[in-house]
Amino acid sequence: MALLRITSPHAHGPLSTSRVMLNVLLATIPGIVVLTYFFGFGTLVNILWGSLVALACESLALKLRGRPLGFYLKDYSALVTATLLCVALPPYSPWWLIAVGIASSILLAKHLYGGLGYNPFNPAMAGYVILLISFPLQMTAWAPPRGVGELPGLLEALQACFIPASFDGTTMATPLDIMKQNNSLLVEDLWQQNPQFGRWAGIGWEWVNLAFLAGGAWLLYQRIFTWHAPVAMLAGLALMAAIFNDGGSSASGGSALFHLLSGATMFGAFFIVTDPVTSAVSVRGRLIYGAMVGILVYIIRVRGNYPDAVAFAILIMNFAAPFIDYYTQPRTYGHQHGEGEK
């Protein structure tokens, strides 16, 4: 038998792209469990339906592009996109909303740009923003958390998704909405008057965020990504909130802790900002990228028209990532400082 001729290195590390994607999927489990506990089966139904649509869209796109199905499907990237988008969607979303969102993510944001690795924008967030702009009513209808409202059962959740007309669920403003629309009350009073608020942020929300933080910490431990971008984002957001907290007056944007544990903060920090494809690459670049996302999240949450802002902040910074990379090239061994920054 002829000997194989292969160039070095002959050894390979244990990590594979499929493994990375799978780890990300696993790391979302705590967050999804907590979401389901506080808001019912809506998110789970979202994810199941969304994953099916995602696989169909991915297969279609691969077929149209003449790529081998099996090889590309097993990188699990479509499932990651679907899961991330469906976690961000309100529970009990109708099937068509999810389908449109997933199709936008996979077909428009991903495959139109050349598939995995070539997309300039985070597909899940691009799909989310398309939905948010197109269907603002459905996209802002969050269910009340356990203890505040009544949770629909699994059957009702399926009904809400596939026969939306027959579903009559209740919706309620999220703590971020309340904080934004406050025009006369001190934060303390706001807290007392609204049952949605919990110990540090919204009931359920604080635990959901902590769960995503835990999942993110596990990914960090697995060395799937580096700490730079998420920590910079959380620091940027907390810093902005601390500066503009205003001692809890009626003009306050909310405390740092409130912002860290509200909405999609932790989810965004560990599952979206860390998306390697669309973020900056170098260490300094990731710090800048993360910090800018954090600052933008705060600005849009408090001064913008939308209650949550992770998706917008991420998309804006996706634009800036190549620019940041260009100016943050590391100094190569044996070169002078500044030489690489052309």
């Binding site: 292969i6 160039t7 070095s8 002959h10 050894a11 044996g334």
Partner: protein
Amino acid sequence: MRKVFNFHGGIHPPENKLQSVGTPIADAGIPPELIIPLSQHIGAPAEPVVAVGDVVLKGQMIAQPKGFVSVPLHAPTSGTITAIEERQIAHPSGHRAPCMVIASDGQDQWIAHSGCSDYSTLDKAQLLARIRDAGIAGMGGAGFPAAVKLSVREGVKIDTLILNGTECEPYITADDVLMRERAQQIVAGAKILRQLIDPVETLIGVEDNKPEGLAALRQAAQGSDIEIVEFPTKYPSGGEKQLIEILTGKQVPSGGLPSDVGVICQNVGSAVAIYDAVVNGRPLISRVTTVTGAGVSQPQNFDVLIGTPMSYLLDKAGYQADKNRRLIMGGPMMGFTVPSAEVPIVKTTNCVLAPTEKELPTPPPAQACIRCGMCAEVCPASLLPQQMFWFAQGKEFEKLEAHNLFDCIECGACSWVCPSTIPLVQYYRASKAEIVQLRKDNEKSEQSRVRFEARQERLAREDAEKEAKRAARKKAAEERAQQSAAAGGDEDPIQAAIERAKAKKAAQQAGASTENELEKLEKAVVTTRKRLATASGKLQQAKAEGSDLVAALQTGVDKTQAKLEAAEKALHDYQQVNEAAPEHAAPTDAADAAIAKAMAARAAESALSDEEKARANLEKLQQRLEKSITKLAQSRENGDEEKIIVALESTVERLSDKVAQAQQQLQTTEGA
């Protein structure tokens, strides 16, 4: 405890070193045939100094270095040179290369050799000569001639001498066992090197995964100021640049040498070879090589003769060919696959790795780059491998160079860590080769461009000069035409009438014009004279050079001379006849009468000019005579060859005859 520094990036692949350190270094023995490539080092290949059929002794030089960056080769054992031919060698390209083949006689008989146990008596030049003559090329893998590396340029101060015992590649343990078993020789080698380059400090750097080697070195170095430095295991800390950073905190400038930061590095194996060369007078004819991988049943280290076929060595370690699909020379990170097991072990072969498919699986097809950035995290040169990968795919060579592609040390850490199994290093290697090729091509086309432009410029200049001359001539012609036009106004109507009549007459008696005849004769005289002048010039030259053509040229000159005389005579006769002609010829008509009148005037004129001609002729001849006389005088003075002088004498004689003739002629013309 010395402070050690960290370097950027690096990886921790499974070490797989334990398999091969269980037993002491074994002697691989003498194979029946040794294949010694002429180029086992960086630089010019060596040049054979023995021929096919020659009997060589162990340690005898069989090939000499060709140029400064080159090393000699020695016979690893005694035997007969059976061939000097192209053989398959261990090279990434898989090419064949010139090799010397020795059939060993099994006697292993040494040539007379002597070392110098007290090397402190040797000066630097003597030490360097011994190292060079022993054929030592860097044994860590690159194979740079040790003597060249150790020839520090004038005025460069080396602060730190580093012996590299890092051996960061997985699987390889050749340096490890060398440190365990031959620590004394390593330290002795270090002392020789220290004497040679006189550094401020001498360090031996070893990773902390070799406690036995470290202990042996520390013991051997006791009492000396050679420092053994232990640092954390991380690939590729054994890279020269990385090791320098670990031990000194300094970075070798891009494109520079370690000596630019006052450092010289040598492998511990090279140190042993240098010790052997200086103290024992033993050239580099064997080395320690690790044979390992799950494809051999007894992985271990061998002391193996250079030129031993890989298959011979593998069999000693219990090679199971059916389990092994690729043979690697070197380690799993930077080693290269060999085309067959028949390639020889060379001076740089630190390891032969025979892995099973399970052990080192064939890489799966590459997936898309997800820009995870792990490659940048592990890059010891702080490059951006993923950006460079994009540029390499798009063949954007300028951007690749701007991203410092040429600072890539091809350690393979980026490929190792890439979750999408993209063969990044392969892209960089290919791009480097393409850029080097492009540079060469550019250089060539630049030269062609310069040459082409110079030619264009020259042609344009010549054209311009020609054009200017043409313009000048044209202008002169126009001026002349204007002048003659202006003169034309005063032209004699009679003359014009004559001309017209002559034209008519000429038409009537086509070709028979007496004038034509006269002109022809005059022309003949002039051309013959010219020919004579050139011929005699040539003759002179030929005589001066002593050419064989002298005789032939002489006849030529004589003939031309005769012709000239005939032509002159013919002209003269014709003129004489013509002078009388008008008297005999009866004018037949008015035109003829006019012609006759004009002709008479011309005859008078030509009679006058004849005398002048004769005078001019005489003057010319006199000049030539004078010249010939001076030449003759010169030749005599210079003591030229007899025949030249004789020839010149005859020339002078002939010319004086001619002058006499011309004088006579002049007198006759004057008389006429």
